[in-house]
Amino acid sequence: MAADVIRIRGLAKTYVMGTNEVHALDGIDLTITQGEMVAVMGASGSGKSTMMNMLGCLDKPTSGSYELDGERVEVMDRNQLADLRNRRIGFVFQGFNLLARTSALENVELPMMYERSRKKDVRDAAMKALARVGLAERTHHLPNELSGGQQQRVAIARALVTEPALLLADEPTGNLDSRTSVEVLALFQELNDNGLTVVMVTHEDNIAHYAKRIVELRDGRIVRDEPVSPRGNAAADLAAIDARRKGNA
């Protein structure tokens, strides 16, 4: 049986706003095993962003426990959390979050600059990661010289370069057109087929159906947790879109 990448028990996050307490997360139990591809869904205010921040070790829970890849997160200090984000988690954001005026290659190299026990050839690893997302020809382009889809692929290469246990994607297709969205999802599916655990937050059903499992939140609680069926095949859909366009042209 595959190992648990994420194990959450009774996770809660409470924000105090004036005299009101807002329970963004209200006691969540969730286990995600290695090789899963999970879509976290929910309306805005459902707590899915808070959940994403918790999973990404960017924010600390008010109570509950969180084990990432066998390590307890809630007891860690800022440095340990930084190292954990560096080694175990690859982030992909809605707004790409690449460093401006910095080449694709250097953006991908960046996580390795912060690695404590650095042994590998940084340049070589970054080139390989870019090749893996199909951008071997664009290594010296600046983010503003790349299309949205290409920027997101640079971000994915950056997320992969440290060989994390978990790929966390926060609305990865939010800023992309529908064809590019399917393209990015095809890449996620390919990475997932090779054993990478993927968790993505989305509010779009047509994106979520490419995942293997959907977890839906409402008011800080899980209201749905079920496998996806039928599951979409992004690579096939992409080929269909391209064929249709060719037909129209």
């Binding site: 924010d59 930084a82 984000r85 954001f93 979050n97 960046l110 912060y114």
Partner: protein
């Protein structure tokens, strides 16, 4: 993160905001440049004074009238003139360590050449030993000797300036001529080699030198003993010679053990200290003013770094999300501040060199830049970077990753 990486990131971020970085560093550039120019002027003045004091003669001991003083502040109210010819003669007779002794009698008055030219300059009545003490070469003719002194002959030696002004610049034009001093004609037997200006700008060559016996007799009532000069046989004897001279002088003035000396004995080091003391104060003052401008420059750097941290909040968030520790972020901004102020410092050094050269050119003041000043100025600008860069950098490091990442 490796140090060279940090410096590269810093340089890149500085290059991206060229205009702003230049304006920010301008405070440091001007500050460091000012420090260097100011100190260069101060040092130049000091070295000129020291040089001209060395010109006074070697191993010289100077006895002047007046109460003993400390740090240029007179300790006694009645600093009246109490030097006598007898003091000089007693020193000459009894001192073992002073090889040469000469009184310096100063007389003033209008001077007329036998060609009708008028001039005005001091007349020194001295012993022939004066020439040795001052280490003053004779350009033409000769210095008067002991016989002239004993016979109270009306002979004199002219300083180069006086000779030129009264008798023109012809070779030997002054020799054998007469200068009339208060109706007393003196025969010119020599012209001294030029000695140049003192530190305070007095022309040392604008003087007439005559036997003190003659000056005392002929110009009575218009003269006083300004000082007694002596010179020790060797530099190592100077201290002992001063002690000895003091003892002889106290005896000559019949001072009891409880009484303060009514004269001062100084050597060249004392004269140098007194003269350079003022320029030291000036140098410190100038350096202080320049230091304040460095401080202001540092505040400018802090200001721009704070702006930069706010502007780059999102970048900080991204770096933290992919694994930068707070210390990494702190170092990044600290190094940027240091690099910025060090670059400013380097440009400031260049400006300082240029400025010193220009000041030297325009005013004729001597300027001197020493490596110490440059090192201290550069070190100080780096320190300014550390000091004023730390707070903005700490602010950046203290950001919460999620807040930084969501910052718009």
């Amino acid at each position: 993160m490796k140090p060279q990486m940090l410096v590269r990131i810093a340089l890149r971020s500085i290059r991206r905001t060229k205009m702003r970085s230049t304006l920010t560093a301008l405070g440091i550039i001007i500050g460091v440049g000012a420090v260097i120019v100011m100190v260069a002027i101060g040092h130049g003045a000091k070295s000129r004074i020291e040089q001209s004091i060395k010109n006074l003669g070697t191993n010289m001991v100077v006895i002047t009238p007046g109460a003993a003083n400390t740090g240029n502040v007179s300790q006694g109210a009645g600093s009246f003139n109490r030097l006598k010819i007898e003091d000089a003669e007693k020193l000459k007779r009894e001192s073992v360590l002073l090889a040469d002794v000469s009184p310096v009698i100063m007389a003033f008055g209008r001077i007329r050449g036998n060609n009708g030219t008028n001039w005005r300059c001091p007349v020194y009545g001295v012993d022939p030993a004066y020439q040795n003490i001052r280490d003053w070469q004779v350009g033409q003719g000769q210095f008067f000797d002991a016989r002239d002194l004993r016979a109270r002959r009306k002979v004199c030696v002219l300083g180069a300036t006086v000779a030129l002004q009264i008798f023109g610049d012809g070779e030997g034009a002054a020799l054998g001529q007469e200068v009339i001093l208060r109706d007393v004609p003196f025969t010119v037997i020599g012209v001294l080699a030029p000695k140049g200006q003192t530190a305070s700008g007095t022309d040392q060559d604008d003087v007439i030198i005559a036997p003190y016996t003659t000056v005392q007799e002929r110009l009575a009532g218009h003269q006083f003993i300004a000082q007694i000069l002596g010179s020790a046989a060797s530099p190592s004897d100077v201290e002992a010679a001063m002690t000895e001279a003091k003892a002889i002088m106290r005896e000559s003035h019949k001072l009891g053990d409880w009484e303060d000396s009514d004269f001062q004995v100084k050597n060249q080091a004392d004269l140098a200290n007194a003269a350079t003391g003022a320029t030291d104060v000036m140098t410190i003052l100038l350096a202080c003013i320049a230091g304040i401008s460095l401080l202001v420059g540092g505040i400018g750097i802090m200001n721009i770094m704070l702006v930069s941290v706010t502007e780059r909040t999102r970048e900080i968030g991204i770096r933290m999300a992919i694994g930068a520790r707070p210390a990494d972020v702190l170092l990044q901004f600290l190094v940027e501040a240091i690099v910025l102020s060090l670059l400013g410092g380097l440009l400031g050094v260049a400006l300082g060199y240029g400025g010193s050269w220009l000041v030297g050119r325009l005013t004729g003041w001597p300027t001197m830049i020493d490596g110490m000043t440059v090192g201290v100025a550069l070190g100080f600008s780096a320190a300014v970077g550390v000091f004023f860069g730390f707070w903005p950098a700490r602010k950046a490091a203290a950001l919460n990753p999620i807040d930084a990442l969501r910052y718009e």
